[in-house]
Amino acid sequence: MTAPFELTDDNVVVVIGTGAGGGVLANELAQKGISVVALEAGGRYLPQDYVNDEWESFGQLAWLDPRTTSGDWRVAKDFSGLPAWIVKAVGGTTTHWAGASLRIQDHEFKAKTTYGNVQGASLLDWPIDPRELDDYYTKAENKLGVTRTGDRPGLPGNNNYKVFEAGAKALGYKDVHTGRMAINADENRDRAMCQQTGFCFQGCKWGAKWSAAYTDIPQGEATGNLEVREKAHVARILHNEAGKVTGVEYFDSDGNLHMQAARVVCVAGNSFESPRMLLNSATSMFPDGLANSSGQVGRNYMRHMTGSVYATFDKPVKMWRGTTMAGIIQDEARHDPSRGFVGGYELETLALGLPFMAAFLDPGGWGREFTSALDSYENMAGMWIVGEDMPQETNRVTLNHDVTDQWGLPVANVHFSDHPNDVAMRDHAYQQGAAVYEAVGATRVFPTPPYPSTHNLGTNRMSENPRDGVVNKWGQTHDIANLYVSDGSQFTTGAAENPTLTIVALAIRQADHLASEMSQGNI
C-alpha cells in the first residue's frame, strides 16, 4: 500500500534514490513510523520482468543517461559515455549486484594509520570505530540473508568455482569458499532458494538474491509510511535563508517539474549522481554547491582496484551455469606491504555470458588473438579482482556544463587515473589469478582490464574534520544539519571488500540516528 503524501508536507523525510543505501534507509525509517517520500529516477521492475539476456537486461535496467569521462583509465577510451555500469530502477543497483557481502576489516577502517603517508593519496581514517558497526553488520547480514553468517549455510560450488577452488588449493591458498552471498542457499526462508540459473547480474527471477526492489521497498510500503515515486528525477535540493534544506525539485516522467517539501533530505543516488545533485544545487548562498564548504564534494572518487582473469582449458567448464559470483579467495585481502603495495584484494569467481564476454574480455580487441579466446568460451573459467584503491583528490566527479541530460541538467564528468599503488596491486593480482588457473592446467590466461565501474565510492566522504570531507560519522553533512548522504559516496576509503553490506549497515545505523535526532527535535 502506498501512502500518498502532499507535495507541501514538510514533515516527510525525502530519500533520493532507492538502491542499497536509499532503499534500505527508506524502509528502516518507515518501520519506525517516520513518513518517507522516496524519489527514484528509474521505473519499477520485479522478478517477473527480469530477462535472462545480457544486453536486453542492460537496456531494461542500466543507467543510460549521458555522462562523460576523462583521465587515463582505459574505460575513458573504451566506454567513454559509460563510466559506470549501474542501475536506474526502483531498488537501484541491487537488482544487478551479484550478492557478495563482506565486512570491511578493522585495519581498513584505519587506512591512514595503517598505511601511513602514501604519496598522492588522500587517505583518512574512518571517523567510526569498527566496534560501533559490529551489531549493524549483523543486522545487515540478517536482512540480506548472507550465507555463512548466522545459521545460514554456504552455497554449493558450481563448475566455475570448482576450477577456481582446485587451483587455489594447489597454490596453497587456505581461505577459499563459495563466498558470503546475499543469496538463499536453502529452503524455508523468506526468499526462494537459489536455482543456479546463472543470471544474477540481470536480476534474479527467483528472488533468491536479495534486492531492495522486492524486499525492503514493498516492506516499507506495507507500513503505509513510505511512498515511492518512480520515474521522479531529482534536479536540485532547495534551502532557505537559514541554510537548512527545505525540499527538492524533481521532474516526473512527462518532464513536469514538482517541488516536494521535506524536513530532512537524504541523498542516495550512487557516487556520481549524489555529488552531481549537490553541485547542481548551487545558489548564491552556496556557490560551490550544497555541503561543499570543504571543496570535497565529488572528490576522492574510488572504484576499487579491479580487473578480471579469464583462462581457457582443454576441456569444458561451462562457467555460466550457476551463481555468477559464488566463490572467493581471501588470502590476499591482508595488508602486507612486502608484496609491494598497501592494502589487499579479494579474488572472486565471475562468469559472463558470451555477449558480455565479447564486449569486455579485451575491449577494442579483434583478430584471431581475440576470437580464438571466444572460440574456447565453453572451456573458460573466470574470476574478478576487487582490491582497495587509493583515494586521490584529483579523481573526481564534476559538472560538465557542455553536456546536458534530457532535463537540461549538466551531466557528471568522471575523471579517474590509477594510483601507482593500484597498478602494483593489479599486477600482483593478475599474476596470482593466472597462477590459480595455471595450477590446474590452463592453456591460456587473459588479464582482463577493469569494466565500467560497478563499485562507486567516496565522492561525499565521511571525515572527522569538516575540512577533509563532506559528511560526519552519521552521514550528516558537515554544513547542513538536515541534509544527509546515505549511499556509497560516504565511504572514507574503499577497503578491499565489495561495498554493499557496508552501505546497508550504514543505512540501518543512519535510520536509528535520524529517528533519535528527529524525536529530540534536533532536525
Partner: protein
C-alpha cells in the same frame, strides 16, 4: 579465391567468376548475394553488392570464427545497407580497395590470405569507419541468439528451471 595482381578495378563479372571458380561464399547478381550452397541469400537495397560482399568479408576478418557461417556475418552487417550509412560504407570500402590496390591486388576481396587483408585493417584501425564496423559487430555478431550454440553458450535458463538439476556442477576432469 586466388590473388590477382593487376591494379585494375574489379568488375561484378570478375567477382562473380572468381567467387564461383574458387568456391567462395558469394555469388553476386544484380543487388543479390547468395551462398553457393544456397544456405542463405540476401538482397541489398542501397549498397552495391560488391560493397556488401566486401563488408561481410571485412566483418569476418575482424572477428574470424571458422565455425561460424557467413550468414551470421551477413546478419551482423545487414543494417548498414541503409540510406543513412550507405555513403559511409561505400567510402570505407573504397578505402579498403584502394589499400589493396596499393599492395598490388585488384581489390580487398581479391586478396586470398587473411593476413594480407588484416594488414590493411591494422593500417586503418583508428579510422572512424573501422571503429564503427568493429564496434557494431560486438553486439551485431555475438548477440545473435542463433550464434550462441556454436560457442556452446546456452543462453536463458530460467524457463528450464535453472541449472540446479541440469549440471551447474557437473565438471568431471579436475
Amino acid at each position: 579465391m586466388q590473388d590477382t595482381t593487376g591494379p585494375k578495378g574489379l568488375t561484378r563479372r570478375e567477382l562473380l567468376s572468381r567467387s564461383t571458380a574458387a568456391g567462395a561464399t558469394f555469388v553476386v547478381g544484380a543487388g543479390f548475394l547468395a551462398a553457393p550452397n544456397a544456405a542463405w541469400a540476401v538482397e541489398t537495397t542501397t549498397l552495391k553488392p560488391e560493397t556488401f560482399a566486401t563488408l561481410v568479408q571485412m566483418a569476418r576478418d575482424i572477428y574470424p570464427h571458422d565455425k561460424v557461417g557467413d550468414e551470421f556475418y551477413v546478419v551482423a552487417v545487414k543494417g548498414y545497407d541503409a540510406d543513412t550509412t550507405a555513403d559511409m560504407v561505400e567510402a570505407g570500402v573504397a578505402g579498403l580497395n584502394a589499400a589493396a590496390r596499393g599492395k598490388g591486388h585488384a581489390s580487398y576481396l581479391a586478396m586470398g590470405w587473411e593476413r594480407d587483408r588484416v594488414d590493411i585493417l591494422r593500417g586503418m584501425e583508428d579510422s572512424a569507419f573501422f571503429q564503427q564496423i568493429r564496434g557494431g559487430l560486438v553486439t551485431g555478431l555475438y548477440n545473435q541468439k542463433a550464434v550462441w550454440p556454436i560457442f556452446g553458450y546456452e543462453g536463458a535458463s530460467f524457463d528450464q528451471g535453472g541449472y540446479i538439476d541440469r549440471g551447474f556442477n557437473d565438471i568431471n576432469w579436475l
